[in-house]
């Protein structure tokens, strides 16, 4: 491992420089060619660089780059996912607005790499905003209307989430001695309105991770986003969501059973809702969005457990991060797997095998965490089992539906086969699953015999139920809940617009009325009659005599 913290900024500067290169006409062609490999420095740094901390003197408010264990893992994940995005993008993106897409892609990449490295809160916020807005730029390029509508809803949710997070940071900032993460954590620990601040955190981060109330943008975006963008999406969601939880929220130091219990029941509610939604999903990637919601639900139940027993955190922190990385990799693999199959129909059998391995790895991640929990928080253990079960059931179900109706066109959209599929893309899907397997190994080592056996039992039963349920095919189109909410959102906002529009017109008419009535001309026209009378010779002289008398009378008065 090389001890060189000063190389850290390079990870972010390279993509930014490339983005600049793409914008400037002279170096455009070269920059676009290099763009897919822009994630390499991050990958190398993640593998080779030692842990370290780099103080950035001028930047923001005494900010610094932090490279610790969680940062390394998330950086590696993001690097791999962005590498995949780069390769896929070069192969399959259309010619339209190519230059603008590459710029947004590079900016989003820089943002996603900065998130794990950010040492202080403001740098992290800057990274999330940069990544969020550029990702929005990428997604908004899509041609069809539903994506653009969903992406607009996503932007609104992201922006509101950011603002809520900003307010939370300000609430913490008052107590915190400085702006970096551990000072913020101390502030979080010693604050008195814990529930307010936890609520804000939940809302802020939930907006990105698809919390129950804020999940409606997830499904349409997952379904309609372009093949190349899906790994980037997962990278953004996982790093913006989970890093903030790990860095900002003092998982090990807060004992708050009241919120823990409430959160536990919330997680259960989400799992149930996810199951219901997953079953009704017709599109494969819609199901994966629901899988993401399940992962979030599991995360919340783990956090609930930690709130009840903070001391668990020390033992399980490392394996928790590994499990999250593993789930992220598997989900992105599944997301792009189907797309790749479409371009290379010949790989049908190897695809089936890797899908089976992927589903196994995805489900085993939560199960491998059970060993950390004892009987005290049984609710969390059961929720982990149920979560794994739901994931397996939904994935198998989609797989079987896919196989059953390989020929039915309405079921799986056939992408037009692109022209220059690079050979290396073929290995992306199995490669990602292999990396996920590597991350799973440290957790699987400690898997006790009973849990392993009960897991295999669960695996087989879910396989069976899924195979049985393939006869129930939902009829009307999939986006039941999300479409409805997007509609409501649009109608609601347009209604508000009209109401305030009317208010605006009415106030301007009112103001014009007032100014007309009291305008100077209107008032002054009365005076001209007096002026004419004053100009008459006789009137003036009489007034003059009056003044003379008045003055002389004064003399008499104050005699």
């Amino acid at each position: 491992m090389i001890e060189a913290p000063f190389l850290l900024p390079l990870i972010i500067i390279v993509p930014l420089l490339l983005a600049l290169g793409v914008v400037i006409r002279v170096t455009q062609r070269v920059a676009i060619k290099i763009a897919p490999w822009a994630a390499l420095p991050a990958l190398l740094a993640g593998l080779l660089l030692d842990d370290g901390k780099l103080q950035l003197p001028g930047m923001l408010i005494n900010s610094y780059l932090l490279f610790d264990n969680t940062g390394r893992l998330f950086l590696l994940m993001s690097a791999m996912l962005w590498l995949a995005t780069g390769l896929l993008h070069q192969a399959y993106s259309g010619a339209l607005y190519a230059q603008q897409k590459v710029v947004f892609k590079l900016l989003a990449m820089a943002g996603c790499f900065l998130m794990p490295l950010a040492g202080d809160v403001l740098m992290f916020m800057a990274a999330t905003t940069l990544a969020g807005y550029s990702l929005y730029g990428l997604l908004a390029q899509e041609k069809n209307r539903t994506t653009r509508e969903a992406v607009n809803v996503m932007l609104v949710v992201l922006v509101v989430g950011d603002i809520v997070l900003f307010e939370l940071l300000q609430l913490l900032g008052m107590h915190a001695v400085s702006v970096d993460f551990d000072a913020m954590r101390q502030a979080f620990v010693m604050t008195e309105q814990m529930n307010v601040q936890f609520g804000l955190l939940l809302f802020g981060l939930g907006a990105k991770m698809g919390l129950l109330g804020l999940h409606f943008w997830l499904i349409p975006v997952f379904i309609t986003s372009h093949l190349a963008l899906r790994p980037a999406l997962i990278s953004f969601i996982f790093s913006a969501g989970f890093i903030a939880w790990l860095r900002l929220f003092p998982l090990g130091e807060v004992y708050y059973p009241a919120i823990g219990a409430l959160l536990q029941w919330g997680a259960w509610l989400m799992l149930g809702y996810a199951l219901l939604l997953g079953v009704r999903q017709t599109h494969r990637r819609g199901v994966l969005a629901v899988i993401l919601m399940t992962v979030t639900a599991l995360w919340l139940s783990i956090v609930a457990a930690l709130l009840i027993q903070p001391e668990l955190w020390l033992s399980m922190s490392r394996s928790l991060v590994l499990a999250v990385i593993q789930m992220g990799l598997v989900m992105s693999a599944l997301l792009i797997g189907q797309g790749l199959l479409k371009h290379k129909p010949t790989l049908k059998h190897s695809y089936a095998l890797t899908v089976c391995l992927a589903i196994f790895l995805l489900a085993v991640a939560p199960v491998s965490l059970i060993r950390h929990f004892d009987s005290a928080n049984s609710l969390t253990v059961t929720s982990l089992w149920i979560g794994a079960g739901i994931m397996m059931f939904l994935l198998w179900r989609t797989h079987f539906l896919l196989l059953a109706s390989a020929e039915d066109s309405s079921y799986s959209k056939v992408l037009k086969t692109s022209h220059k599929g690079r050979s290396v893309n073929r290995y992306l899907f199995p490669g990602l699953v292999a990396v996920a397997l590597v991350t799973a190994v440290p957790n699987l080592k400690f898997l006790s015999a009973i849990t392993a056996f009960s897991f295999l039992l669960l695996f087989a039963s879910m396989l069976l139920i899924a195979w049985l349920s393939r006869f129930y095919k939902p009829t009307e189109p999939s986006q039941l809940t999300s479409g409805f909410i997007v509609q409501q959102f649009k109608q609601g906002s347009s209604a508000i617009m009209e109401a305030t529009q009317y208010l605006d017109i009415y106030s301007t008419r009112l103001r014009k009325g007032i100014t007309k009535r009291f305008s100077p001309k209107f008032v002054l026209s009365h005076f001209s009659w007096y002026e004419r009378s004053l100009n008459r010779w006789s009137v003036a002289l009489i007034i003059m005599v009056l003044i003379g008398l008045l003055v002389s009378v004064q003399g008499l008065l104050n005699q």
């Binding site: 001209s528 004419r532 100009n535 008459r536 010779w537 006789s538 002289l541 009489i542 005599v545």
Partner: protein, 104 residues
Amino acid sequence: MNSPMIYALLGITLFSVGLYGLIVREHLLRKILALNIMGSGIFLMLVALGKRSAGELPDPVPHAMVITGIVVAVSATALALTLMLKLVEASGSAVLHDAPKDRS
């Protein structure tokens, strides 16, 4: 009521008669006449006041003032008359038009 006081009072009445004439009369010539009457009223009063010092010789200062006053009054009247003639020539009537024409 010695005689100077009577003359002074007569002067003041002449002054007020002139003032009344100035206010009421429209025609310019009458206004100029009224001004002259007022002037002579003041001069009469000044002369009457001259008999105030003890000895039989009257006080010279009011007389000096009256002479200057007469000179001023004559020149003023001359200017007024020529101006009136010019005005009649220009606007056809020797009356100050109270209703200002150019009230646009």
